[in-house]
Amino acid sequence: MTINRRDFLKFSAGTGLMFSAGAAPARAAKTPELPPEAVGILYDSTLCIGCMSCMVNCKKANSAPGGALFHKNTAGQIPFEYPEGDQIYDAPQSLSAKTLCIIKALYTETAAAQANPAEQSKSFIKMHCLHCIEPACVSVCPVAALQKNPETGIVTYNKNRCFGCRYCQIACPFGIPMYEWEKASPSVVKCQLCNHLYAQGKYSACCEFCPTGASIFGKVRDLQEEAKRRLALKPGDVYAYPVKRVDGDERTEKVVDTYVNHIYGLSEAGGTQYLFLAGVSFDKLGFNPRITDQVYPDFTWDYVSHVPALIGALLVAGTVSRVVTQRLDKGKGDTDKADEAPDAENTP
């Protein structure tokens, strides 16, 4: 877990000015530890048929009280995003304040790809919060509105604490947290793994309604094992894929597709609770290739930890300077008053 020297210096150059003391060296790197009861999702893009059941039911489940999209004043309403002028489809183009989960397509329609269908890479990819084991958003939140549940590892958001700095948006390497720009009193919106359902003994809506088992819910350790098991399968074998839950009874048999030999999320950004398997390279699926195994809080904490102190210091310094200047003004004002009287008489 090393910080690139160049990046470190670049970062220091920008922010180091704020701290006269300068940043202490990054904390000794340690392997992030999975919470004991960590739950997550395994998404296998070779099983995904792009039916968008997950998107639709995510909105439905999260618009209910307790959900991440629930608002008091629009209770029960599902925040659809229609394309311009056409109120037929809910067709969000990216994650947004109204969309926590999105299915994107990799589908090249070039002439070369059409001529040779074998070379055409086609895949769907489902994006939502990855629930990092060491989340950058949590580490930068100055008011602890974003918190990682110590038991389940779900990264939750408390809108009553949030004061709208949007550091989380900048910190998240995956670009997940979204902001309600159009609202007078906005909050940050992100997937909370259907935390409200989990509390009732249920599980994420995206997994519950996935017909093929492309998204399955379960304990992260089980999911990691399941993912490793799948990578060990040979293409052409028949495998009974679990549906909905990794530990459930429901299974569906399918011929195994070719996998890229990589489980995304096993070590990326220090490991995530949302794991991906795919048949095409992850770079093509829109994952930023610059995301390494870097644990982001290691990177940010040394700076962000100073923020409360900085705010406090600014507060104190401001108050002091105000008091001092006021006193000076007062002292000066007394002498000014004495000077002003004759001046006033002189003016015509």
Binding site: C51, M52, I88, Y107, K284
Partner: protein
């Protein structure tokens, strides 16, 4: 007994108005995707006195294929079967019976050797010497093997004849076998018109293509006419927009089902079944095909799907073409460097303009033009 077929010299089309007849020819051309210029050719072919004889053999079948063919809207039964083709033998429609019918078939085969079309519906049992389906005391497998080499073309109509269908479902007690497998050793190509029953127009169009051009329409690698079976039902399904929008009937009779949502989760086999059900109304009756009535497609016309995969199991979806509004995994971006360069250039021009105007305000105003 003289049948209408035998007495073919009279004007058999007298009962059809010219207008209806041309409508029929146009519809046939349209269902095959042929240009309208061939309509007169079709009209000529179907009125020609050289109507080819058709011998219709039945194996293990339910008569559904014949029954649906008899219910075509235009033209009606008698014009269709008796005038467009010369139906020499069909167990369902024979005027005669028993030895009389068999004798007529033998005569028709003799007279039209190499010219008649052999249509087979029903699967062919081969177990125990083929004793499970006997016609005139002989196993149907022998009859098919004997007649196929004499025919101009062999058409297997219905899923039983094409893939084995219902009789071949596990445990297949009679050894029901599709026609193409029976004729494989003899190297005789078979046109498959699968379906349970198939849309009669798929069969009719194939026959009329043969009449008009003297050859069979383009076939795929499974012997199915491309004009009807080249696309998956799912591609053009009327419920496809619901699939693309993630709206599914989760169970029979729920709110989604009542609103006409996609039936995929109820076990619809549309995504793995090649047929034109979604584009060509069954027997001219729109809204009567299973998916339109709210019953999931069960893949009747697809080999190893209908009668072989569980009714409510989810279909294997071939990667579907994503809808146009689906976001791309890697969004298209303008070149960042270029945009930045434009920005810098614009700022430089602006700064120069400001600088010049300020200098111009003090000195000569004409320098503003330079900015």
């Amino acid at each position: 007994m003289k049948s209408k077929v035998v007495d073919g010299s009279v004007n058999l089309l007298s009962s059809v108005t010219r207008r209806d007849f041309m409508k029929f020819c146009t519809a046939i051309a349209a269902s095959m995707g042929l240009p309208m210029t061939v309509v007169p050719q079709i009209a000529e072919a179907v009125t020609s006195p050289k109507r080819p004889s058709v011998i219709w053999l039945s194996g293990q079948q339910c008569t559904g294929c014949v029954e649906s063919l008899l219910r075509t809207g235009h033209p009606t039964l008698e014009t269709l079967i008796l005038d467009l083709i010369s139906l020499e033998y069909s167990e369902t429609l024979n005027a005669g019976a028993g030895h009389q019918a068999e004798a007529h078939m033998a005569k028709a085969v003799e007279e039209n050797k190499g010219k008649f079309i052999l249509v087979v519906d029903g699967s062919i049992p081969v177990k125990d010497g083929g004793v499970y389906c006997m016609i005139g005391g002989r196993p149907v497998v022998d009859i098919v093997k004997e007649m196929a080499p004499l025919a101009a073309a062999v058409i297997a109509i219905g899923s039983c004849a094409a893939w084995g269908g219902v009789p071949s479902a596990d445990p297949n007690p009679t050894g029901a076998t599709p026609v193409y497998e029976i004729l494989k050793p003899q190297n005789i190509p078979v046109v498959n018109i699968p379906g349970c029953p198939p849309n009669p127009y798929n069969f009719l169009s194939t026959v009329i293509h043969f009449l008009t051009f003297g050859k069979l329409p383009a076939l795929d690698d499974k012997g199915r006419p491309m004009f009807a079976y080249s696309r998956i039902i799912h591609e053009n399904c009327e419920r496809r927009p619901h699939f693309d929008a993630g709206r599914f009937a989760e169970e029979f009779g729920d709110a989604g089902h009542r609103q006409g949502y996609c039936l995929y989760k109820l076990g619809c086999k549309g995504p793995e079944t090649y047929n034109n059900c979604s584009t060509l109304a069954y027997n001219d009756t729109p809204g009567c095909w299973p998916v339109a009535t709210g019953a999931p497609c069960f893949g009747c016309s697809e080999e190893k799907v209908g009668f072989h995969s569980p009714l409510f199991s989810k279909a294997k979806v071939v990667f579907p073409t994503p809808p146009a509004q689906q976001p791309a995994a890697v969004p298209e971006k303008g070149s960042g460097a270029k945009n930045f360069a434009y920005g810098v250039a614009g700022a430089a021009v602006g700064a120069a303009a400001v600088a010049l105007s300020q200098r111009g305000g003090k000195g000569d105003g004409s320098s503003q033009a330079g900015g």
